[in-house]
Amino acid sequence: MVGGLFIIITSQNYLKKVVGLAIFQTAVFVFFVSLAKVLDGTAPILTKMANAYSNPLPHVLILTAIVVGVATSALGLALVLQIYKNYETIEEKEIESLELKSDK
């Protein structure tokens, strides 16, 4: 989680920022799934063998969050592509210097 956040903050490359965001979100998903584990629990399917089940709800929530995460990454990558088409670079510093030039 911290790794993903670190990438977002430090990297100068927009593509890397999107990847960092994906790592950050995935870490949170794993955190949610780990909450669902019940000691000695099995998969939540009704059988006579088991007497404890893992909680299926966090998995379902994360299924939703994964879809949201995919949409976020897709939109992020699409924006990076558009930025590249417009500026011909996706490095933050180069774009900043380009913008400074155009402002003058």
Binding site: V18, V28, L35, T72, G76, L79, Q82
Partner: protein
């Protein structure tokens, strides 16, 4: 036959725009997406009015999706807190959609108008979901739908200025971090209580009356996540570029409603759920929200003075205005919360009107509106300019406008809490608001260049004037806004007093 639909009105106000948005996405026509959106939003307004009628009878509607009882199923809750906001939302969205047509035709390729209105309705539906939902995870989903829709809408501004892409990208990254923080908080809350329903959450949290570290960590994560989304001071940096480079119609919708709905949920979370830990709550309000609000008011206003670009100026003044709202919410009593809601209503109208007028100027000028470009506009386009003047005076808080009512109630609330320092700061910042607004007025009416008045487009100035007249009307006759706000505060604060 119609009654069947009316029973499902709480769901329909959210589902209807989302559904129609999918239908109009690939329409290549110039006009049909707009007509369908208008019809949808008229229905939306009708449903909101129906909800108001129901609420005035019963006082509370809990709508369970698929008849799954809470806490298992997702539920929507409509009560005194959000019915006023729902009504404002419905009316404002209709007016701004009416306004948006000519603006979109000028700013984006007409072949994209189907997609633009599809995203527009997506944003409307999901923001409405934020107002109504009673489930903390469901909120995250709506939060992200609205964020992704508005990011795409902001990126549509790239046809005008390629910086819109950078603004949209920064909003995406910062917004997604905020939303993910919120989800971490939800995870902690769920781990401790096993519930996501807000009413049930209060009951479950009560068993940890002495407080647990995991709960406090979760609460802090949720609040910080929402603060990013609501653009409360230090985490506001995504807002000014996003609002100023978006297409003008989009700026109107976002500036007026997007942050307001999230602020509403923020205060609801504070006063409805986290209220069971009064010590944590007052710690957060006194040592986090209160100083940050004061900083937001001060910094936002000062930066706004130095802006040359009018849309950016308005965006920074939004930061200051959000500061006023959070300052009112941090007061922990009835008058504070009520005045916060009053300002949510009034500021939505004021900023909406200002962005509409400036958006029209941007189209007339065919470039970004800076201070210099406004020279003589007061004579050239008198109808719109006069509307801008009234909205601006209301932003400053002059009597006879609704901005004055906001300031009055805020001062009263601060005075009853004996916060004289804040009163002074709010007064100074209002005076500074005169400075940046006067710069605009000076350029528009008092420059050497004189123009003959030119013809203005009725489709654009009518909605602007609807907003402007409502500003004056609510300035003279403020009872509806005050009553809705008091109602909201009654519902929220009753829990705090017990």
């Amino acid at each position: 036959m119609f009654d069947i639909f009316l029973d499902d009105a709480p769901a329909l106000v959210v589902v209807l725009p989302l559904l129609i948005s999918a239908i109009i996405a690939f329409m290549p026509s110039k006009i049909w997406p707009w007509i369908i959106s208008i019809i949808t939003l008229l229905l939306h307004l009708f449903l909101s009015l129906h909800l108001l009628k129901e609420i005035s009878v019963s006082g509370l509607i809990i709508y369970e999706f698929g008849n799954w009882e809470p806490p298992w199923g997702i539920s929507f809750k409509i009560d005194g807190v959000n019915i006023g906001l729902q009504l404002l939302f419905s009316i404002f969205v209709l007016v701004s959609t009416f306004y948006s047509r000519k603006i979109f035709l000028n700013e984006i390729d007409y072949r994209d108008s189907g997609k633009a209105y599809s995203l527009w309705l997506l944003a409307v539906g999901s923001l409405n979901g934020i107002i109504l939902t009673n489930d903390i995870f469901n909120l995250f989903v709506f939060l992200e739908i609205s964020a992704l829709a508005s990011i795409s809408l902001i990126a549509l501004g790239a046809g005008q200025n390629r910086k819109a892409l950078l603004a949209a990208f920064n909003y995406l990254i910062i917004g997604a971090i905020g939303a993910t923080f919120y989800v971490i908080g939800v995870g902690f809350a769920y781990a401790m209580t096993g519930t996501l329903n807000m009413n049930d959450l209060v009951i479950q949290l009560a068993q940890y009356s002495d407080g647990q570290l995991a709960i406090f960590a979760g609460m802090s994560f949720m609040l910080i996540g929402l603060m990013v989304k609501a653009a409360i001071f230090p985490v506001h940096i995504w807002l000014p570029p996003a609002y100023s480079y978006a297409p003008s119609a989009v700026s109107t919708l976002l500036a007026a409603l997007a942050t307001k709905t999230i602020l509403y949920f923020f205060v609801r979370l504070l006063y409805e759920v986290f209220i069971i830990y009064p010590s944590y709550l007052s710690l957060f309000l006194d040592f986090v929200l209160y100083p940050l609000s004061l900083l937001a008011i001060f910094v936002g206003t000062v930066i706004a003075i130095y802006q040359d670009d009018i849309k950016k100026l308005l965006a920074f003044s939004s930061i200051a205005q959000i500061g006023y709202i959070t300052l009112a919410f941090s007061l922990k009593d009835h008058s504070g919360v009520a005045s916060g809601f009053v300002h949510i209503f009034n500021h939505a109208l004021i900023k909406g009107g200002l962005f509409m007028a400036v958006g029209y100027f941007a189209i007339l000028y065919k470039d970004r509106v800076t201070l210099n470009s406004l020279k003589g506009f007061g004579y050239k386009y008198p109808i719109t300019s006069f509307a801008l003047l009234i909205c601006g005076l209301s932003l400053i808080g002059l009597p006879l406008t609704n901005g004055f009512i906001s300031k009055l109630y805020l001062f009263q609330a601060l005075y009853t809490n004996q916060m004289y320092f804040s009163i002074a700061l709010v007064a100074v910042s209002s005076a500074l608001a005169v400075v940046y607004f006067w710069k605009i007025v000076e350029q528009m009416w008092f420059s050497e260049i004189k123009f003959k008045s030119e013809k203005e487009d009725a489709y654009i100035y009518l909605p602007i004037w609807i907003i402007t007249i409502s500003i004056i009307v609510f300035g003279l006759y403020s009872t509806p806004i005050i009553e809705f706000s008091n109602l909201s505060a009654d519902y929220l604060i009753s829990g705090y007093q017990n």
